[in-house]
């Protein structure tokens, strides 16, 4: 349904001109109102024209007036909004119910439907009246006036700093965590690389015809850390030499001494 803030019964200003030129008595009704706020609004105005209390209006008369109004609007080729037509149809139905012999089976009765309509008109009428009375109050800026140039109350905001003991400790912890010296100790260390071990073991192997403990190939004067490195590198060198067929490796028992000797020129190495 179209929203109703502007005149709803009429589609535009042209319609107004058409009505304004109409000379019938009914035109007065069109002329003095600038549109209705929906069908209930129109009904309320028609009811008011009965010049009686809304509690004693004749619903049948009201229905006739409404239907007559819509008919004339249509005769004038005015576009009548759908909700007005729906109301017209409902009122026509109500009228027929009111005029026909009473059928006790029909619930609610036509009188009850008429009463409901009357109640709704009363409520709308009450609110329209209330609105008018509200607008008639002594309104600020129209009837009464506030101070034209108030000094104003200034509030200077002063910060009241908040911090709790938990936040304080947490902050300190965060600083400490952040600044914990992350020390990378990079120190010189004695190592024997694999290349060095290969050269060394390869050379020494030339003079070792008999089975010789791998540890005999390590530098004698090495400190313990260099010895570890040399042992590991020499072991890898021995494996490499065996692979090349230049050395043979033997170990008699698990974790026993690793024995090494130069390979006979014709035979291939015996791997562990």
């Amino acid at each position: 349904m179209e929203d109703v803030t502007a005149p709803t019964l009429f589609s535009g200003d042209e319609a107004w001109d058409g009505i304004a030129s109409a000379q019938s008595d009914d035109a007065a009704l069109y002329l003095e109102l600038d549109g209705w706020e929906g069908p209930l609004d129109l009904l309320l105005e028609l009811a008011r024209r009965q010049k009686v209390d809304l509690r004693t209006i004749s619903i049948l008369d009201l229905v006739d007036q409404y239907l007559g109004y819509i008919e004339r609007a249509e005769a004038l080729k005015l576009e009548v909004a759908a909700d007005y037509l729906v109301m017209a149809a409902w009122l026509a139905y109500l009228k027929s119910l009111l005029l026909l012999p009473r059928d006790p089976e029909v619930q609610p009765s036509p009188e009850e439907l008429a009463l409901k309509l009357q109640l709704r008109l009363q409520r709308l009428g009450a609110m329209r009246e209330a609105g008018a009375r509200l607008m008639g109050r002594d309104r600020i800026g129209r009837d009464v006036f506030v101070r034209g140039n108030p000094e104003g109350l200034r509030v200077d905001r002063k910060a009241l700093w908040k911090c709790d003991i938990f936040s304080l400790i947490q902050a300190y912890g965060a600083i400490k965590l952040r600044n914990q010296p992350v020390v990378h100790m990079v120190r010189e260390r004695a190592v024997m690389t694999l290349d060095a071990a290969l050269t060394r073991v390869g050379k020494m192997l030339g003079i070792a015809i008999e089975w010789t403990d791998l540890r005999a190939f390590l530098p004698l004067d090495a400190d313990p850390r260099l010895r570890k490195s040399a042992l590991a590198s020499s072991f890898l060198a021995a494996l490499e030499l065996a692979k090349q067929g230049r050395a043979e490796i033997a170990q008699d028992s698990a974790f026993g001494p690793l024995m090494l000797r130069a390979a006979p020129s014709t035979s291939s190495g015996r791997a562990v």
């Binding site: 349904m1 179209e2 929203d3 109703v4 803030t5 709803t8 706020e37 929906g38 069908p39 209930l40 609004d41 759908a82 909700d83 729906v86 109301m87 149809a89 409902w90 009122l91 139905y93 619930q107 609610p108 009850e112 439907l113 009463l115 409901k116 309509l117 109640l119 709704r120 009363q122 409520r123 709308l124 009450a126 609110m127 329209r128 009246e129 209330a130 609105g131 008018a132 009375r133 509200l134 607008m135 008639g136 109050r137 002594d138 309104r139 600020i140 800026g141 129209r142 009837d143 009464v144 006036f145 506030v146 101070r147 108030p150 000094e151 104003g152 109350l153």
Partner: protein
Amino acid sequence: MSGRPDDLVRAVEATLFAAEQPMTAQELSVHLAGASVADALEELAETYAERGVRLVERGGRWHFQTAPDLAHLLRREKEEPRRLSRAATEALAIVAYHEPVSRAEIEAIRGVQTAKGTLDVLLEAGWIRIYATTPDFLTNFGLESRRDLPGIEELRAAGLLDPVDEAFAVLTGADDEDTGAIEPSGGDGKSSQMD
């Protein structure tokens, strides 16, 4: 004015004169270092009752304003506030007399859809919240409280603030069950109410 008034009375007077917005007793008290201002307000309201300027209470908030009978002297230079449309006036009345109220209820009473823009005008003016009236509404319309709404007691007594279905049930003594009868469009198509 006879003699120097009480210091607290003077302080309340000065504060409300200087204030750009109406103030509640509570706000005044906060502003005045926690002083209890109820008596001072009452004394001031009485002092100013017959003067060209009055102290009035609207929705629990106090402000000074010119006496209504002097409107004609002051109006000429002041721009009149914008007129409300009929739809907006009706919607405002419905909210004021029925609050709290839903948009559907507003429409049920008016029998027509209410444009969102219509209600927006009222929200923008700061006179209604969704959709009940505000303290500013009371201030603007010179109402001390909603009880001062013109005729609200009569309307209530006449049952005109009750929904149609309720009034109908009272009048007919009948249960208002929906029987599938045709209702006019824009009607109180809400589910019927049990009584």
